[in-house]
Symmetry: C2
Amino acid sequence: MNCLEKRILKNGIVKNANVLKVDSFLNHQIDIKLLQEMALEWQYRFKDIEINKILTIESSGIAISAIVASVFNVPLVYAKKEKSQTIEDDFYKASVFSFTHNVENNIIVKRDYLSEDDNILIIDDFLANGCALEGLIEICNQANANIKGIGIAIEKGFQDGGRKIRNIGYRLESLAIIEKMSDKEIIFRK
Amino acid sequence: MNCLEKRILKNGIVKNANVLKVDSFLNHQIDIKLLQEMALEWQYRFKDIEINKILTIESSGIAISAIVASVFNVPLVYAKKEKSQTIEDDFYKASVFSFTHNVENNIIVKRDYLSEDDNILIIDDFLANGCALEGLIEICNQANANIKGIGIAIEKGFQDGGRKIRNIGYRLESLAIIEKMSDKEIIFRK
């Protein structure tokens, strides 16, 4: 059991069949030492790939990605959420439905910051149905950037995002994959 | 001239009398090495104070603060923006007017993550009129947390936020203070 799985068992709070609150250590109050351990784990798992940029999405992916970028010694780009429908031509754009907030957002990345010369590691905190991740992949595809890997902190293995992404052929490394959870227990995938 | 001032001269874009775009290195694409140098500069300037937590506000403060928290070896808490007027009792709350988006937002921090035992360093990317910073200070005051220092990346010295905050007595360390700017030149305060 790795450091993140242990921490989820210690401080994660299961609110209902779908919601796991980790805001005491991952996305409101943030344990930077835990993030450093997670970044080192991804560095180990992705030691055979060459990347030159980390890509994530605001807001909850930013802190993790900053520490990962620091360990990989590369710049970070984060996609911004933009409710406005009028987006200038100098942005890549993808539409992402948020089940949490029941709203469709555009996510955007300025064209200057992604190109076919980029070898990307995508990082995010959660993977459930995969909508946000598909938006980031879509933006990389628009830029002809190469997605070398995807690092997720917590994958909800009982939703179908991870299966979809792996089936397309992406190399996806989730540090904690939850097989099932209830207020009684959390079971991780081996 | 420090690393941030040099970088602003090299890559900052003055859009009009009030708007400086730094999204190629500070708040959309992020140069992590620059952030590490900035964090070390704050560590030097605040070497006489003891802190146990960094506080910032989403989204553009998070990446800088994560690197600062990493250098200071303390946890990070970021205030969330919340448009909903119905906020649960377990949050500190302050109202912040955004001149950029011409909208009033609530910013919130869960009560569990700030208390009178906390010695806080507030970090943010920009200081102009000081509204966001006053919101963070208000939240610290609600929690009876001790604000030991405030670190700002870029202060617009021609707006009155910095003067107000220093007049209250806070120790404010801005890495680049812009005295005046135009599309021809950017002048920093000595």
